[in-house]
Amino acid sequence: MIELHRLTKRYGDQAVVHDLSLSVAEGELLAVLGGSGSGKTTTLKMINRLIEPSSGNVHLNGVDVRGLELSELRRQIGYAFQQVGLFPHMNVAQNVAVTPTLLGWSAAAIARRVDELLELVELDPAAVRDRRPDQLSGGQQQRVGVARALAAAPRVMLLDEPFGALDPLTRQRLQDSFIRIRRELAVTAVFVTHDMVEALMLGDRIAVMRHGRLVQVGTPAALMRSPADDYVRRLLDTPCREARLVNALLATGAADR
């Protein structure tokens, strides 16, 4: 479905993504996991050409994305990111309807689609349809952001830490919603995150990146079984280490301080 072949992105003589090859199967969710500066966001943005690679290429359904008109390419890929980027001068319905409008859908079809999507992301269409983005909570805004990304029924979604700025409880609710939505729509997705738990929960496979290079890619179980190096081992161990720390604190009563 998505093929990245020897992708490299250089700014000056600094390579932020180095000779990266990956493939994502139809219907699969690939979690790209890495710290700041690992090149995970740059990699994601080269898929819908928000960033153009210095060398290498990306194929979507066997078609080189460089051969497609930019707007045409992006209209068939859903995109959601941490800053959400809802247009403040449009109401919720208009925001969700952006891509269908660009594609020239009829007003009736758009209105139907907007309500359908708002329900899909667990918002009450009647209540939020006419609101401005700044009248919504952060979690609601990101639900609208996901609805906008899904509006034109894309086969592929790119997500760049979409839940990264939310509080833990809201984040968990959105993750649960997203798992359900993805199961319903069987959409192929690349999901960038720095959160190990999120990657484990959502990813069919996990690609670990560090310093612009792909360190290891595989199912969560495979990674657990045989981590490629010490970095991956420590990364995978993070949730357990944190749990141990919390337990230890509770045991000594330090949490009551």
């Binding site: 928000l50 707007s71 045409e72 992006r74 209209r75 990111f81 800053q83 959400v84 403040p88 952006v98």
Partner: protein, 510 residues
């Protein structure tokens, strides 16, 4: 006051035409340029730099600079066009700068979202960047609107009618009611237009109705300005005879006098082009944008012919100037009015007596104790150089001021000497005395009615009518008329009409 208000429709309409058209073009230039500057980053600095440089040119100078520029291009250089172009240039910077600032200020997350949902660059601009930058762009438009309304009052000296006509002629004839009407009308117009633009960009609840109302108001104003402008530009049976006037009382009176005479004797319509700069009006006559105005032989002798001003006789200067104008420009001297309005140096009469000064040659020894006021052009005119060199004048201070205020300044002692005109009734009224030019440094200044080559060729009837003014006004008569306007607050047009009535009595029309 009522006669001032009667002029309001004409002045306000002309002001509106200039302002609205200039703003339309300013916007049409700066919006695309501003957008281009945010797309092509290296454009931003030069584009904003050039606009800023235009802005630093004093507004009056910017408008005045259009006159020789347009004349060099052989297009109409006096009137609507130079004012319109100058105003358009002046309005560019605020709109341009705010367009760039507004678009550059759009949250990068939103432009990323716009690209990611599949907008083309044009859709991104129209659907996201322009709507979000709109409040900032509208603020720039409002600044431009207020500036343009204000600066448009400076269109008068380049020959375009505007509310500035009230201000310029009012200042010269000490008619402060006229100045006030001009300022108040411009201020009200600025507030109204600013309010319309503000409503046009209004957001929020109820914004839609206010936007619609503002848009309708603006459309109506443009329609009105467009229709009146088209009507003014439409060719009617021959264009009116354009009569020019420089920026002082005597010129206003004479322009009205000539206009009245021409209308009465030939049945042609005339139009006044008042408050023009001294060189502007001459260039306009040479180019045929102005048909008739009064100039003074010595002025042209010195400025146009570049001759030495000393030791010249009246008849010789008149003949020399006439021949030169005919040969170089085809300009015809239609009449010599019969009085001289010479540059002279005036001093408080009491002061002159205590110091024992009657002649300019007696001034040199006490020069370093004296200060002198001159009108806008005096100290850069050849006559001043001649005076300075002939009499060896070394004065303590030279101050340029408005001619309407010079006499008062001399009387109050703010300056000791002023440059004066010999026909000015205020010399006596302010207890001043003229110092004799005993070495003949200043040339004679016979008032001459000049007619453009085109008028001389196409309108012999006008030329014949002007001939009746030959020798018709002597110096005391001119001084009396000037004093009536300057000190008694009479309207120049009425003073001119009075004189014409007298002329008819003496010299009945055939």
């Amino acid at each position: 006051m009522t006669e001032q208000l009667a002029l309001l429709p004409r002045y306000l309409t002309a002001h509106l035409q200039l302002t609205l058209l200039a703003l339309l073009f300013s916007t049409a230039v700066s919006l695309p340029l501003g957008v281009a500057a945010t797309r092509v980053r290296w454009l931003e600095r030069p584009v904003l730099g050039v606009a800023a440089v235009i802005q630093t040119v004093p507004s009056l100078a910017l408008l005045a600079a259009m006159v020789p520029l347009l004349a060099a291009l052989n297009v109409q250089s006096i009137g609507f066009l130079p004012a319109f172009i100058g105003l358009t240039l002046y309005g560019v910077l605020p709109i341009l700068r705010n367009t760039v600032t507004g678009i550059a200020g759009v949250d990068p997350a939103l432009t990323e979202a716009a690209r990611a949902v599949g907008m083309t660059p044009w859709q991104q601009l129209r659907r996201v960047e322009l709507p979000l930058a709109l409040p900032v762009i509208a603020a720039g438009l409002r600044t431009a609107t207020v500036w343009t309304v204000g600066v448009a009052t400076l269109s008068t000296p380049v020959g375009a009618t505007s509310l500035g006509n009230y201000i310029f002629s009012g200042l010269q004839t000490r008619n402060y009611a006229s100045v006030l009407v001009g300022c108040a009308a411009a201020a009200v117009l600025a507030l109204v237009l600013d309010g319309l633009v503000r409503c046009l960009a209004a957001g929020g609840r109820g914004g839609r109705r206010r936007r619609a109302a503002a848009a309708a108001g603006i459309a109506a104003l443009y329609l009105y300005a467009g229709l009146t402008l088209a009507a003014a530009l439409a060719p009617r049976g021959g264009r009116p005879v354009a009569i020019g006037a420089k920026t002082f009382t005597e010129q206003y009176i004479l322009a009205h006098l000539i206009g009245g005479l021409v209308e009465e004797a030939t049945g042609r319509t005339t139009t006044q082009r008042q408050s023009l700069g001294s060189m502007v009006v001459f260039d306009a006559l040479a180019a045929g944008d102005v048909d008739i105005y009064v100039d003074y032989s010595g002025t042209l002798w010195a400025n146009e012919l570049g001759r030495d001003t000393a030791g010249t006789d009246r008849a010789g200067v008149l003949a020399g100037v006439g021949a030169h104008l005919r040969d170089a420009y085809g300009i015809v001297v239609a009449a010599t009015l019969g009085f001289e309005n010479a540059y002279a140096v005036a001093m408080r009469a009491a002061d002159a007596e205590t110091r024992g000064v009657r002649r300019l040659s007696e001034l040199a020894p006490i020069g370093p104790q004296l200060s002198m006021g001159g009108d806008y052009e005096f100290f850069s005119r050849p006559e001043w150089n001649a005076l300075r060199d002939t009499y060896g004048l070394r004065l303590r201070e030279l101050r340029t001021m408005d001619p309407a205020l010079m006499y008062q300044a001399a009387e109050e002692g703010a300056v000791d000497l002023i440059s004066a005109f010999t026909t000015d009734g205020r010399i006596a009224a302010y207890n001043l005395t003229l110092l004799e030019d005993d070495r003949g440094a200043i040339p004679p200044y016979d008032a001459m009615v000049l007619a453009s080559a085109r008028l001389a060729r196409e309108a012999p009837d006008v030329l014949a009518a002007l001939g009746r003014l030959d020798g018709a006004i002597d110096a005391p008569a001119m001084r009396r008329m000037n004093l009536q306007v300057d000190e008694r607050g009479a309207d120049p047009a009425e003073v001119a009409a009075d004189f014409l009535r007298g002329l008819r009595g003496r010299n009945p029309a055939p």
